[in-house]
């Protein structure tokens, strides 16, 4: 797993059931948007995250275009927790210095 992928998973760890949109994840992970989307596409294809467009009524109320949100699946939570544990025990932190 690349550091960038671990950083993306780590962005969810504090709130594993929470949902985030891409920019939130990129900021939290410290990676560029161009790096983020391929990672999300891959994690989604592996069923480690699931993505969905928010209800148009919600975005209309907020007067902005609909966002696509992502959240960890059960497998994703396990992997993120494991990645964090390994990061804390010698694989290096993954909140900073992430690379593609």
């Amino acid at each position: 797993m690349t550091l960038a992928t671990r950083a993306v998973l780590a962005a969810f760890v504090d709130d594993p059931a929470g949902e985030k949109y891409g920019l939130e994840i990129a900021r939290s992970a410290g990676i560029a948007s161009g790096t983020l989307y391929p990672i999300l596409a891959r994690l989604e294809s592996y069923r480690l995250v699931e993505g969905y467009f928010e209800d148009p009524a919600t975005s209309q109320e907020a007067k902005r275009p609909p966002r696509r949100y992502y959240r960890l699946t059960r497998d994703g939570v396990e992997l993120a927790t494991e990645a964090q544990r390994r990061g804390a025990t010698g694989f290096g932190g993954f909140r900073t210095g992430a690379t593609a």
């Binding site: 391929p38 969905y52 902005r64």
Partner: protein
């Protein structure tokens, strides 16, 4: 038969793989010249002018990744009084072949009634790519100009693409022009960006459209919808541009991932059924 390329970084790699490191250097020289020539210059829709040059080069490179047409695409608007560059100056840096292509495109634009069969097909492709990208960013023009360019595209340029055997380019030109005629893309009062189906298009949108072109056709709408939701969360013009360029730089790899990772089944994938906006 030249190998077609899909994105800027891919394009440089394909040019070098097919034609050597000198070919890559030629394209990078053209990139530097165009970037310097158009620095501080903006298009009517508020985007940096240089972004148009890169977008046209990517379109051209997708059809013909020889270094000369790609380099010509990058500098195709450099022989202009605003840049202070002459054909002789460009020839010293890029060679006669590249400059000849640019001059033929300039000639097409000036004369208006060109016999396309008498023009170097590479220059014609460049002209068509230029028009295609202009159609994507046409929202800042007056409605009269939009319609004039759209009709010229439908009546003259798309048939030229057909005659050159470029069916994909012809289709892209027709669909973009028809959308313009229908009024799907119209100018907004600020004159800096257009809107589609009532939604404003943000700064950097044409770059995101270029990025989406690198993706499989069936996935473009889904990603554009997501990116639009993201970019509209950014308040500042520069931030939106940085986002769009980031996405463009990552698009070749995203395309690779999207093509490679097979879906895990309709019930296993997150649903895109509710995709709310299709550009």
């Amino acid at each position: 038969m030249p190998t077609a390329a899909n994105g800027w970084s891919d394009l440089l790699d394909v040019v070098e793989a097919g034609h050597g490191s000198d070919a890559r250097s030629l394209v990078l020289d053209a990139y530097d010249i165009a970037e310097a020539a158009h620095r501080g210059e903006f298009r009517r829709n508020g985007e940096p002018y240089f972004s148009h040059c890169v977008a046209v080069a990517i379109i051209v490179g997708g059809l013909d990744a020889h270094p000369e047409p790609v380099a010509a695409a990058l500098v195709h608007d450099c022989l202009d009084s605003r840049t202070g560059l002459s054909p002789e100056m460009l020839t010293v840096r890029l060679g006669q072949d590249v400059v000849a292509l640019v001059e033929q495109v300039v000639d097409i634009d000036r004369r208006g009634d060109v016999a396309f069969e008498e023009v170097d097909p590479r220059a014609v492709i460049l002209k068509l790519a230029d028009r295609l990208h202009n159609l994507w960013t046409i929202g800042a023009l007056t409605r009269d100009k939009q319609l004039r360019k759209a009709h010229e595209t439908l009546e003259v340029l798309a048939p030229v693409a057909d005659r050159l055997g470029e069916a994909g380019l012809a289709h892209a030109l027709r669909s973009s022009a028809e959308r313009t005629v229908r009024g799907d893309l119209v100018s907004d009062p600020a004159g800096r960006s257009g809107h589609v189906h009532g939604h404003r298009l943000p700064s950097g949108w044409s770059i995101l459209r270029c990025a989406a072109l690198l993706l499989p056709a069936e996935s473009r709408s889904r990603w554009l919808t997501e990116w639009r939701g993201e970019i509209m969360s950014l308040g500042e013009h520069g931030e939106r541009w940085r986002f769009a360029i980031d996405v463009l730089l990552g698009a070749p790899y995203l395309a690779h991932v999207v093509r490679r990772e097979s879906p895990v089944g309709p019930e296993g994938r997150s649903s895109d059924r509710e995709t709310p906006w299709v550009p």
